[in-house]
């Protein structure tokens, strides 16, 4: 697409999308490392993830300020309007992803104080799928690739399916050995957080679709998580 006649407008839009992409990178790293902190029982890594969440929050505030400025001073229309609007919304999703990663890291600190459990392997697998999805959707955003985004949108069921089976495994584990109830409960929360990260990736995919086409994704998002209560 050609530049705006007033170049500063293009520069400001680019700065906004770059900041969202940078934030995406921070969120991706946080998710990957929080899962690693669980699987490797790495307390130092967990603490690092917790501290770095402040950077993700700061980036979200920056995107918000840029968006408000663009709306007020440039009155963007059409594609520009969608760039600013989706940039703002995606930044909000990424801020939540950062919080979820921070919470996973906090649980890692607690889990590391008790005996290791076998089921962390399953959680790790689920975490890697969610991290991959997040990476794919952020790549789709950088490339304005609707097909890739819709691909992520359809495969949210994978993370949900993992969550369901993990839930059942953990229940079985707890019933077999009540001494593991504490650790398993924390793992349940971790699994729920990972499932939520998957949901945010799906939301980002929807915004990418709107960004590129100007239309909302028409059908209902596929839902496979049987346990949908908030925890």
């Amino acid at each position: 697409m050609t530049d705006h006649t007033v170049k500063a407008f293009t520069e400001e839009l680019d700065a906004l999308t770059h900041e969202v992409a940078r934030m995406g990178g921070l969120a991706e790293t946080a998710v990957t490392e929080s899962i690693q902190a669980i699987s490797r029982r790495d307390t130092t890594l967990a603490q690092s993830v917790i501290e770095r969440d402040a950077k993700i929050d700061a980036a979200q505030h920056d995107v918000e300020k840029r968006a408000i400025r663009l709306f007020a001073l440039r009155q963007p229309f059409a594609s520009d309007l969608r760039v600013v609007l989706t940039g703002w919304r995606i930044a909000s999703e990424l801020e939540r992803v950062g919080d979820l990663a921070k919470n996973i890291a906090k649980r890692a600190l607690i889990l590391n104080q008790s005996e290791p459990i076998q089921l962390t392997k399953s959680v790790e697998r689920m975490g890697r799928i969610a991290a991959t999805q997040l990476k794919q959707v952020l790549d789709a955003y950088s490339n304005r690739d609707v097909r890739a985004a819709v691909g992520v949108w359809f495969h949210d069921e994978d993370v949900d399916a993992h969550y369901n089976s993990l839930f059942r495994e953990l229940l079985t584990y707890m019933m077999e050995d009540p001494r593991t109830i504490g650790a398993c409960a924390h793992l349940l929360f971790v699994a729920k957080n990972i499932e939520r990260i998957g949901d945010h990736s799906t939301n980002i995919a929807e915004y990418i679709h709107y960004l590129v086409t100007g239309e909302e994704i028409a059908t209902e998002r596929p839902r496979a998580d049987a346990e949908t209560t908030d925890t």
């Binding site: 697409m1 050609t2 530049d3 006649t5 009155q75 229309f77 059409a78 100007g214």
Partner: protein, 284 residues
């Protein structure tokens, strides 16, 4: 009865109280709106040079339609076809079909003067007559024979000035000269003058370009009120104004009508890349 017919047709003095009634109805959706102005394959030439190419559009009643596009795109030329102002230009040739309320305004038995009463026009620079405020508004109804008695004329003048949101500001000085008003007031006086003859359609060619932001806001509010009863077409260079005041937007470029649609769609997801480039400021 062909109300656009010339002096020869049966056209007795009409009841002055038959002004378009102020019905506080909602504007309704565009899809069930009646078409007030219909154009099919309108081509316009200035001598050898073609200015408009096959323009076809339906313009809804009780709504504001905005014509946007870069300078020289033909939007003002097209606007001027709707009230036959292009007749006043010697080498201008208009071809195609143009109907207002289902009647062909270029038919041979149509009097262009009557067309210009029924299709009023407001220009960029306010142009009140060098007469009193009262006379500015009364002139049209009087010469078109719309009233019988002075009492009726007083009524039309007051109604029109109220409709133009100007009555309260001028009611105590109706005999002061119209040219003594501020720019924004003059434009509203011109609008009052236009509505005084019960037009079907009001054309506006950049009505706010010469006005300050406050006067502009007042005229835009007035347009919002008027659209409940009139078909309004506005040519504007301001994208933001088109977005604010109109329900339907038509984008012209190099003499062709590139895209029309509900204003909300044109400004959030236009279909044509030329429309997108123009409204986002990527032209040139």
């Amino acid at each position: 009865m062909n109300e656009f017919a010339g002096a020869g047709a049966d056209r007795g003095p009409q009841d002055a109280s038959v002004v378009v009634p102020i019905v506080k109805a909602s504007a309704g959706s565009l899809t069930d709106a009646q078409t007030k102005v219909m154009a099919r394959d309108v081509n316009v030439h200035y001598g050898e040079k073609q200015a408009l190419f096959n323009v076809s559009i339906d313009i809804p009643d009780r709504a504001v339609t905005a014509f946007i596009g870069p300078s020289g795109c033909g939007k003002t030329t097209f606007l001027r076809c709707i009230n036959r102002m292009n007749d006043t230009i010697d080498n201008c040739r208009v071809q195609g079909t143009l109907e207002v309320e289902g009647k062909n305004i270029y038919a041979s038995d149509v009097d262009p003067v009557v067309v210009r009463m029924r299709v009023g026009m407001v220009f960029q620079k306010p142009n009140p007559f060098p007469k009193s405020i009262y006379e500015n508004v009364a002139y049209g109804p009087r010469i078109h024979g719309l009233v019988k008695a002075k009492g009726e004329l007083d009524e039309i003048v007051e109604k029109s000035l109220r409709r133009a949101a100007l009555w309260d500001e001028v009611k105590d000085r109706l005999h002061a000269p119209g040219t003594g008003l501020s720019g924004g007031q003059q434009q509203r006086l011109v609008i009052a003058r236009t509505v005084a003859v019960s037009p079907h359609v009001i054309l506006m060619d950049e009505p706010c370009s010469a006005l300050d932001p406050i006067a502009t806001a007042k005229v835009e509010e007035l347009i919002d009120e008027l659209r409940e009863n009139f078909c309004i077409i506005i040519v504007t260079h301001s994208m933001a104004q088109a977005a604010r005041v109109s329900q339907k937007t038509a984008f012209f470029h190099l003499g062709t009508l590139v895209e029309t649609g509900p204003t909300e769609e044109i400004f959030t997801k236009p279909r044509d890349s030329r429309t997108q480039d123009y409204i986002t400021g990527r032209f040139g």
